[in-house]
């Protein structure tokens, strides 16, 4: 049994940095305005509502990292999970299904309001589970594939889901997704009248400190994701993921069930994508098919690559940087340039910038900003995950080739 002291030492200075960052993040709403008043950099300080979006996307990136970083499965369709989560929110906390009226734990809205209205906290959980199930369904047929082939199939699924959503306004006469109009408004989280007596907001959207509460909730969800992610990384399952990433054939021979283990990584990654999507839909009070383009998948993947595949802290940094540029940074830069008399709008070249960032990263720091120790070496030295030579060429018994005679 390790003592507390030993454990603290094993965490190293990283733990201290993490603690400071968490405290600073928690207090952000307190000092964001004074930061905004600073000369020069003041304009570049992200507003609270921008922070919410950045954190939500970072949370998805951390979820994606379980699939791509840990298990080494290139998933180009993660946006599907985001969509599934957002629409779960829309189904269970809006007036979409107004043929029924069902309320359970809804806050700040009339109990007569038609539609299904569950408590958002419950909806987040349902969204996670629903999306994880979707992940398993998508995973079962696709995860038998290796490398590039898997990427192509996930790309397909990432395209299929938004199309389903877009055309889901008439599923055998049933309006499932309200088509291109999307579903809006979506209920807001809150703690109801019970929470109000404790000083918590009854309903976030109706609260005067709306953004602050959304921010803290987003932060809590991100921390939860990070916590689960770390725990899983250091578990039996986490080891099996790395083993599969390193050498599938050997992993199977050591008793790691490939399909099940890969599917778990997919499902768990999907779970967090779903929760993030559901929360985000509630935050902006709507789910629209136009939100779920392929771009998002690539964008999330960029976050993972920029930060360092498999490295949780790296992915958080990568996610926050790219999230910032996307939500606010480039626009701010554009207006600053405009004021300086330069007519250049960087938001128009958004994905161009990300592309350049990725190319530069690949050239100069392929292991990411904060590399995971193992991945760093893999990039430097390469992995040996080739199929058994005699398995790839069924038909040619390579065993017959003279090797050492």
């Amino acid at each position: 049994m390790t003592t507390v002291q030993e454990r603290l030492r094993s965490y190293g200075p990283g733990a201290l940095v993490a603690l400071v960052v968490i405290v600073l993040a928690l207090l952000y709403p307190q000092y964001v305005e004074s930061l905004g008043d600073l000369p020069l950099i003041g304009d570049f300080i992200p507003a609270l509502s921008s922070m919410v979006i950045m954190i939500v996307f970072t949370m998805m990136a951390v979820g994606l990292n379980i699939v791509v970083g840990y298990a080494g499965l290139l998933d180009l369709g993660y946006v599907a999970f985001y969509a599934a989560g957002a629409y779960t929110s829309a189904w269970f906390a809006s007036q979409q299904f107004d043929q029924w009226t069902f309320h359970f734990g809804s806050v700040g809205i009339s109990k007569e309001l038609p539609g299904i209205h569950l408590s958002i906290w419950l909806v987040l959980l349902i969204a996670g589970i629903f999306t994880a199930l979707a992940g398993i369904l998508i995973g079962l047929p696709t995860l038998r594939l290796r490398g590039d082939y898997l990427a192509i199939v996930t790309l397909g699924f990432g395209e299929i889901i938004p199309q389903v959503v877009r055309n889901g306004d008439n599923v055998f006469g049933f309006d499932l997704t309200h088509g291109t109009f999307g579903i809006s408004p979506i209920d807001s989280p809150g703690f109801g009248s019970v929470g109000e007596t404790l000083g918590l907001p009854l309903n976030y959207q109706q609260s005067f400190e709306r953004e602050q509460w959304f921010y803290w909730t987003a932060l809590a969800l991100l921390l939860l994701t990070v916590f689960c992610s770390i725990r899983l990384r250091d578990s039996r399952l986490g080891r099996a993921w790395v083993a599969i990433r390193e050498d599938e054939t050997a992993a199977a021979a050591m008793g790691v069930p490939l399909m099940r283990t890969k599917t778990w990584s997919y499902a768990i990654g999907a779970f967090f994508g779903g929760v993030a999507g559901a929360f985000y839909a509630s935050f902006k009070s709507g789910a629209f098919p136009a939100d779920f383009y392929f771009n998002i998948s690539v964008f999330l993947l960029c976050m993972v690559i920029l930060g360092g595949m498999g490295s949780i802290w790296g992915v958080i940094v990568g996610g926050m940087i790219l999230g910032y540029l996307n939500v606010e940074g480039l626009a701010t830069l554009g207006s600053e340039l405009q004021q300086g008399g330069i007519d250049f709008d960087p938001t128009k070249y958004q994905f161009g910038f990300y592309g350049v960032i990725i190319v530069l990263m690949m050239l100069f720091r392929p292991e990411g900003l904060i590399p995971e120790r193992r991945h760093k070496r893999e990039f430097e030295l390469g992995v040996a995950d080739t199929p058994l030579d005699d398995v790839t060429h069924e038909g040619a018994d390579t065993d017959r080739e003279p090797k050492n005679d």
Binding site: S235, A252, M254, G255, L258, D390, V391, D397, D399
Partner: protein, 259 residues
């Protein structure tokens, strides 16, 4: 003595090529059996069928009373077949300890929620697994190498680590694919002794593919000779050494007659 492994009429075709032609084969429990043959005789193909990497074209493989012919690799490992690879296939960027821990995968229970909530049951299991893994590393002669990256180990130690990892799967039958390839005579001698100890101390049954005749003749209870997917001889080492077909196959004369 009962047979731990029974193979009947095992056949494998790759397209038109018959890599394994209706082989019958048995391994008595607690014995060390060697499989020899010139390059391309089908030894590794045979191993790959025993471990589920290949599906046999026809025939039956029965391990410890269970038909394993169409089981996936991990299920066969779980039943108690551990293996090493001809070209070392360690998880190179994992430490020795982690490699062995992965080997224990099917003997551990930790799922998803256990580790997340840090349940005492899972913590205890991890602790015990770790100490067992360390013990296995010591047993395999890798003392003090626990936290060394697998790829940084010297060649001989990598071979030993592969065996340690295979032992971690809790096998009854251990398949070693050319374990002494590339070792110097001292290392080979030590390794041979190690295999004998595995059988005697751990009550393992061992199937060995080996080119080094000194090793084969030294520790085998029985030797089976394959050539072009056919079993051409089988018996105690002494008899095999005198068998004419075996000598022919090894001197290369067989290649001309087989076309």
């Amino acid at each position: 003595m009962t047979d731990l492994l029974v193979v009947e009429n095992l056949r494998k075709e790759f397209g038109g090529l018959i890599a394994m032609n209706d082989i019958d084969f048995r391994i008595p429990t607690g014995s060390i059996v060697s499989l020899i043959g010139p390059n391309g005789a089908g030894k590794t193909t045979f191993f790959n069928m025993l471990t589920g990497v290949y599906k046999p074209t026809s025939g039956r493989i029965e391990f410890d009373g269970t038909d394993i012919g169409d089981k996936p690799p991990h299920a066969i490992t779980e039943l108690g077949v551990g293996r090493t690879f001809q070209n070392i296939r360690l998880f190179q960027h994992m430490t020795s300890l982690e490699n062995v821990l992965v080997g224990m995968h099917c003997r551990l229970k930790g799922g998803i929620f256990g580790p997340i909530f840090g349940l005492p049951r899972v913590r205890r299991e991890e602790r015990e697994a770790e100490s067992r893994a360390k013990e296995l590393l010591r047993y395999s002669g890798l003392r003090g190498r626990d936290n060394e990256m697998a790829r940084n180990l010297p060649y001989g130690d990598q071979r030993r680590l592969e065996v340690a990892r295979a032992l971690a799967t809790g096998p009854k039958l251990l398949l070693l694919d050319e374990p002494t390839a590339g070792m110097n005579p001292q290392e080979t001698a030590a390794f041979t002794e190690f295999v004998r100890r595995l059988r005697d101390e751990r009550e393992l049954t061992v199937l060995l593919i080996e080119h080094d005749m000194k090793v084969v003749m030294g520790i085998s209870d029985r030797v089976t000779v394959l050539d072009y997917g056919e079993k051409i001889a089988e018996g105690p080492p002494k008899e095999i050494q005198r068998d004419e077909r075996v000598i022919e196959a090894y001197l290369g004369k067989g290649a001309t007659t087989h076309g």
